[in-house]
Symmetry: C3
Subunit: 256 residues, 3 copies
Amino acid sequence: MTVVTLTTDFGVTDPFVGIMKGVLATRAPDATVIDVSHGVPPQDVLAGALVLRYAAPYFPPRTIHVAVVDPGVGGSRRPLVVETTDALLVGPDNGVLSLVAPRDQMRRIVHLTEERFFLSPRSATFHGRDVFAPVAAALANGTDPSALGPPVTDMERLALPAVTRGASSLTGQVIYVDHFGNLTTNVSESDVTADVTIALAGVRVRGVARHYGAVAAGEPVAVVNSWGLLEIAVRDCSARETLGASVGDVVVIERR
Amino acid sequence: MTVVTLTTDFGVTDPFVGIMKGVLATRAPDATVIDVSHGVPPQDVLAGALVLRYAAPYFPPRTIHVAVVDPGVGGSRRPLVVETTDALLVGPDNGVLSLVAPRDQMRRIVHLTEERFFLSPRSATFHGRDVFAPVAAALANGTDPSALGPPVTDMERLALPAVTRGASSLTGQVIYVDHFGNLTTNVSESDVTADVTIALAGVRVRGVARHYGAVAAGEPVAVVNSWGLLEIAVRDCSARETLGASVGDVVVIERR
Amino acid sequence: MTVVTLTTDFGVTDPFVGIMKGVLATRAPDATVIDVSHGVPPQDVLAGALVLRYAAPYFPPRTIHVAVVDPGVGGSRRPLVVETTDALLVGPDNGVLSLVAPRDQMRRIVHLTEERFFLSPRSATFHGRDVFAPVAAALANGTDPSALGPPVTDMERLALPAVTRGASSLTGQVIYVDHFGNLTTNVSESDVTADVTIALAGVRVRGVARHYGAVAAGEPVAVVNSWGLLEIAVRDCSARETLGASVGDVVVIERR
């Protein structure tokens, strides 16, 4: 079974994702297509890269991940296939593929120039349909990436914001807010211990709890979440709403 | 074909559901995965139980239903597999599985303790990925529930709010509001006849209509809906918005 | 492989779509079910027809498209199967099937009267579950449309609003607004050239650009979109919000 995943900022109200699946069903009827997320905020390439980074490890080897967060569609940004040790990645060269493909896991990057694999005519606004879905179908059918265009040596790379380390504190930030309003930060599990104080959006939390239930309903709590990152939640509530927090907000970790 | 369904409060913006599907595709590639709903209101265990109750009868025999509305994730609530006469249910022991599994259709309940079936390491915030999806995959592959842990004798049970019967009236409440703003109550088809008056949120409706089109656009109408329950709608509009109604609102049925 | 697609106004919060998929999995386990969209605005038959028109060409030949935007459910409107040169269409006779089935591509229309193909009992509020999904399953299993009911000679037809052609200008309107806030009009590619001025919602745009990136972020831009129609966008923003525009707004194209 070949799996093709889709990660986009297309949302779920329009038929755009369905149309991509139509192209895949037409050209690669045996592939299994799985939605990773279509709720990436519009044009937010970093959020798309982050989502793909934390989802891809849970898919079978050689899964084909298609990521279309593509504000430069129709312009000069290159369409790419990236082969890593684990997977094949398909998408625009704007960084959306970069967090899931660290340099030491890269095998090759191919610039998609062989237009015979694309739909024709090709629109200037929907390369998910006209370029990336048909290329994913070709890969699912066993086409070697080398047939799709010439190899290139590097691609646009994004970096997560880095944490700042002080003498007795560490400063990070909120990098993702989920549907529950939980606040994921860029602070790793290895940077937090039970004896820290965490300050964010005007509240202070003592220590990292084992799970949400360690505090009463409505109270803030810090946990290490499923991405291995420090997360601030408000039990049974939305931390985004309760604390008025959002992506980019500063979090300070102090050793007690 | 083995069907695995997913019912969660994860929403559709984050990659959480996609990640669960990645685990299923990796471990049970031949299973067919179907979303029942990911729009259960956050932490609303009763709503999740209700959704599963009314959806499950439409799936093939021996379908594996995974329900993850799990505010106690990472804490002491037990993860369960429940076998009924029709299906296998996987989820936390908080009642989310209880409305679809009445006592007279139960075969056994298993406490999921065999950690070798889980993902490792196991997070404290996402047992959908680390516990419930891998267990569903094991069941889809034919693992007997008895291999997953010891049998237990009962589980947390929720009850729908009951109706109150008076001499000439019956009092119920709104238990579910759908995307259209239609108001589903806990009043059964057998409790309403054509010659009743229904009062809810300040409006009075005479009789139960055969279908929405029995009244003019913008007018309130009572019907028996697809769950066999009394529903109040406003034709071509949202009863939730038009009437300002929500879950818990009282409905009174009077015989004329 | 037989593909069944679903286009509805059911949204993604309730289990209604999942229930339809349960019926399909039970009765036609070998069919592949693909969501086109469930984000059609409630009761907006024309929007549903438009979505299906622009999605259907990207699916395999003989795909079965089920469209349920059905405010008259339970009333006297007829349930239909429509066979075109490319596909089978299933849905209510209210026009939702008409834009994807121009008269010259029609083969036959069948009025669904053979109740033995339906679920029993049949609700008055959810024919997606009780009529259209089981009929789609029958078609997927190879049932000839003639077995489902008698042929009829025509069906309800909708028309897109027409453009008005003046001596030096053309007047159209916004017919669809997508998740990004981009405004699709009823003006065809053949009606716009590089030397036009486009006026909509108080802004004037000169010429049709090759792609969104032709203007600076925050600036309005006109492109021919993936449906071959004139679209007004605001780069990296929502034209709906920035311009305060919506479906029905007038667009005027003037030759310079």
